[in-house]
């Protein structure tokens, strides 16, 4: 754990020294910032003791976050999400209320889980964190959401294969409505009026009613207008075309001899999804949990289908969805074991929110008179703070002559392999634990984006530092001509 002064702009103060004592802090600097009493604490999280936080800043530095943002719906978990409100809703539904693990639904060791309608992957995380060795196949047709699932799997180190496709009765293509501000209702069978009614029902019952629509004129016309506006905003639609495959194909193509849990949340396409299973693949499914929109008798239809296939079935409804047609159906093969909901293990803690709280306490105990920093951020390395004057020593590992976009490619590959701490000029490939496989991956990643022989393997031996490799990228010189340190 190191304390840094950012070249005259930061304060190598007793406060920073106290913060550096926290085991989740690898490095820390407190930077003076106009209008921020106590300064801006820039924290490099420890790769081991704050694994998830550390990975998240690395992924962000490598431009992987795109249009997503980091959300911390609880102080045990950090995820990439699209809308904070939705992330909170999904977390509460899946982790707190255990929506899918009721009525004896459980997971065996190293289960195979199919998460159909994965959204940002909250259920994939729930299954993966609860069952070590879980293999999750997540199906999500919306590119932005599929990207979130991939990112969340990587963030938490889980084995999740993401299939960016819709599921249906047969292979093909379909129109699909993506609601960017209410992604959980996106689907093939989106219907503006019907969806508005469901959302209205939810908002009138759910906690969101209090958070966003009440207050102006609770209970009156004002509230109704506000609700209409809110529903309209949330259901701004973005139609697109997406590929469709069948559930049977997914199971066969991935060689799944069994599916321990099939979870389906596909906004009115649930019967279509189940119709994509054939005799052979139905037999491989042990447990099913499906959200059913009970429109035109669909609940009874799904219950009937599952009973006919030999499942024991039951269903319930979330009280918050009492004004909506949404029900959850739970189905188990009689041979499948009944069990308690598997408990998720959050071992990548702390979140930034919790770390900030603990650091504030630490500071208050050690230096009661010192004002705590007014701003806290987690960063991959202690480069210059945004807007701060450039320090005397270049914090960017890229030599000035090299095209920044080429170095950015290397930086992304480098941080993906070694983490944020490693993004330093002098960091050496082999000292960071690089091995033959890592080298091949690094070379392949760089080649993919910059063309063949953008980096020659010899370079890793002649100068395996980040700066050395970055310099060679810019010059394009053959290995023999690279200056040795």
């Amino acid at each position: 754990m190191n304390v840094h002064s950012a070249a005259g702009t930061g304060r190598s103060t007793p406060a920073a020294e106290v913060l550096a004592r926290h085991p989740a802090v690898a490095e820390v600097v407190i930077v003076d910032e106009p209008g921020t009493p106590g300064g801006h604490a820039r924290i490099v999280p420890d790769r081991e003791t704050a694994r998830t936080l550390s990975r998240s800043v690395v992924l962000e530095a490598a431009d992987r976050l795109g249009g997503l943002a980091w959300h911390e719906p609880a102080d045990t978990i950090r995820v990439a999400g699209l809308n904070r409100g939705e992330t909170d809703f999904l977390y509460r539904e899946i982790f707190v209320e255990g929506a899918y693990f009721r009525h004896g639904i459980t997971l065996p060791r190293a289960p195979v889980v199919l998460d159909v309608g994965a959204n940002i992957g909250m259920f994939s995380l729930r299954a993966g964190l609860a069952a070590p060795g879980a293999r999750v196949i997540a199906v999500e047709p919306v590119a932005e959401l599929a990207a979130a699932v991939r990112l969340n799997a990587e963030l938490h180190g889980l084995d999740v294969t993401v299939l960016q496709t819709a599921l249906g009765r047969k292979q093909g293509e379909t129109s699909f409505t993506f609601y960017p501000h209410n992604s959980v209702m996106s689907g093939r069978y989106a219907d503006a009026a019907q969806d508005a009614e469901v959302l209205r029902g939810y908002l009138l019952t759910g906690d969101d009613a209090g958070a966003e629509s009440a207050g102006e004129d609770p209970g009156g016309d004002g509230r109704s207008r506000s609700l209409d506006r809110l529903v309209g905003d949330r259901l701004a639609a973005r139609p697109r075309r997406v590929p469709v495959t069948t559930l049977g194909n997914v199971i066969r193509d991935h060689g799944l001899t069994r599916v321990d849990l099939l979870k389906i949340d596909v906004e009115k396409a649930e019967s279509e999804v189940l119709a994509g299973l054939d005799e052979e693949t139905w037999e491989r499914v042990e447990q099913v949990v499906v959200e059913v929109h009970d429109i035109e008798g669909r609940l009874q239809e799904v219950l009937g289908t599952l009973r006919d296939r030999g499942f024991d079935v039951t269903h319930d409804q979330d009280p918050r969805l009492a004004l909506t047609p949404c029900h959850n159906v739970y189905a188990r093969r009689p041979r499948a074991g009944v069990g308690a909901p598997p408990a998720p293990v959050f071992d990548g803690v702390p979140t930034l929110r919790r770390l900030e709280g603990e650091l504030r306490e630490l500071l208050a105990r050690a230096l009661p008179s010192a004002p705590p920093p007014g701003r806290w951020t987690a960063v991959p390395h202690l480069g210059p703070a945004p807007g701060a004057p450039a320090p005397a020593t270049p914090a960017s590992p890229a030599p000035a002559a090299v095209a920044p976009e080429r170095v950015a490619v290397l930086a992304r590959a480098w941080t993906d392999l070694f983490g944020a701490d490693a993004l330093r000029s002098g960091a050496d490939f082999f000292e960071l634990g690089g091995d033959s496989l890592t080298a091949v991956r690094l070379l392949a990643r760089v080649e993919d984006e910059l063309g063949p022989d953008a980096l020659t393997p010899d370079l890793i031996f002649t100068d395996g530092t980040f700066a050395g490799l970055a310099a060679a990228l810019g010059s394009g010189r053959p290995a023999g001509e690279v200056p040795r340190p």
Partner: protein, 414 residues
């Protein structure tokens, strides 16, 4: 680890001399891979005073076996991954026998087996004639020499075992042993990757096309006077077996075990497959690129991910830069050939994979089985990729059941 009767090939109670001779032969392809002398270190402490005596024994046994003897060095510091793998297999300094971890001599006091010239000659003879015996060098249709083996009753139905590209015969010897009680089993080592003459090194450059590699199977059948055979492909060998079946009816049935398939967007690949593809593509680009990769791949840490009892086989194509370059071409071709065009082979086929194969994605095998006209698929609940080479009884039973169903006719010589 492997059973004494098969892969290590040493009967219980064998003398330390026999054990060392078998270990030398078992690592022979690596010892003969390049022109330089391979360095090996003792795996148990050997005092400096005793090193010359061990060196002398290694030299005498190697000479009698027709191999370039390794140079014994005091410590493993600075040795490459292939050198370490060979050293571990030879296990110089262990009292009991090569490659048996835990049998260590008291520090520095390892006993040098004493063998006179006659005993050396007899020991070497026993090692060379032990299963699967010395290779027969046959000529491929384009003149490339191939190291080949045959075992089992000459009149029995024939099985051609097609191992993974670039792997020494030792890796498939368990299959040869298991099947040769009932079948005439033949196999060969990949073209252009093994020393076939008296000297070391893999000879001149060779045609690395899938056509040439699959023609080799037919050339091996010709060489042993076999008209028709079942082709049993393992890992990348499935591509060679399937390509041969697609071009010749002399392959009358197929079994394709844990195949490493390129099927375009029809089936996903594992990270390992993608890594290997990148590696082979880079290595195949030219000797210079291969030399750079060779330096990286022969770092000792490469061994960390390899099964210790198989490491001395698995490192073979990485032993020299030239071998790596050729391996890039030969195996790179197999890994990137779109096999969908080969799925027309009408011969009865058994396709085997396992959910636990994290090396070659099981989805590839599933797709192949679904699209071959006459294939049956077996997805086993357990068994990793390398485990397929162990030829455990349940796999042998599966193979034999299928073979019985398709090879009920006696072999007819050409």
């Amino acid at each position: 680890m492997t059973s004494p009767a098969t892969r290590t090939g040493v009967a219980p109670g064998a003398s330390p001399g026999d054990t060392l001779a078998r270990a030398l032969l078992d690592t022979g392809s690596v010892l003969r891979a390049g022109t330089g002398r391979l360095r090996v270190a003792p795996t148990s402490p050997v005092s400096a005073a005793r090193l010359p005596a061990f060196q002398s024994l290694l030299d005498r046994l190697s000479r009698a076996l027709g191999l370039p003897g390794p140079e014994l060095v005091a410590t493993s510091e600075g040795l490459t991954a292939p050198e370490l793998a060979v050293g571990r297999r030879l296990a110089v300094g262990n009292t009991e026998g090569a490659g048996r971890p835990g049998d260590t001599a008291a520090a520095g006091n390892a006993v040098v087996p004493e063998l006179d010239d006659r005993a050396v000659a007899e020991t070497a003879h026993r090692a060379r004639t032990a299963f699967p015996g010395p290779p027969l060098v046959l000529t491929a249709r384009d003149g490339t020499p191939l190291r080949c083996w045959a075992a089992g009753p000459p009149d029995a139905p024939a099985v051609a075992v097609v191992g993974a590209c670039g792997m020494p015969v030792g890796l498939t010897v368990n299959w040869l042993a298991a099947l040769s009680t009932r079948y005439r089993v033949v196999t060969w080592e990949s073209r252009g990757l093994f020393a076939t003459g008296e000297g070391a090194g893999p000879g001149g450059p060779v045609d690395h096309s899938v056509e040439a590699q699959s023609e080799d199977l037919l050339a091996v059948l010709d060489g042993f006077g076999i008209a028709r055979a079942h082709a049993l492909g393992l890992c990348g060998g499935v591509v060679v077996a399937l390509a041969a079946a697609a071009r010749s009816e002399r392959i009358d049935s197929l079994s394709l075990w844990h195949g490493d398939w390129e099927l375009g967007d029809a089936a996903p690949k594992t990270t390992h497959q993608r890594d290997m593809e990148s590696l082979l593509a880079m290595a195949a680009r030219g000797p210079k690129q291969a030399a750079g990769l060779h330096r990286i791949l022969t770092r000792p840490s490469t061994l960390d991910g390899l099964r210790p009892d198989l490491a001395h086989y698995l490192v073979h194509p990485y032993t020299t830069a030239e071998l790596l370059y050729r391996y890039g071409q030969l195996n790179g071709t197999l890994m990137t050939t779109d096999c969908r065009k080969l799925l027309t082979a009408r011969q009865p086929a058994l396709v085997v994979t396992s959910d636990q194969d994290t090396t070659a994605h099981p989805a590839g095998s599933v797709h192949v089985a679904r699209h071959l006209p006459a294939a049956e698929l077996r997805v086993l609940p357990t068994g990793d990729h390398l485990g397929a080479f162990d030829a455990r009884p349940h796999l042998v039973t599966l193979a034999e059941e299928f073979l019985r169903s398709v090879t009920d006719h006696p072999r007819k010589d050409t």
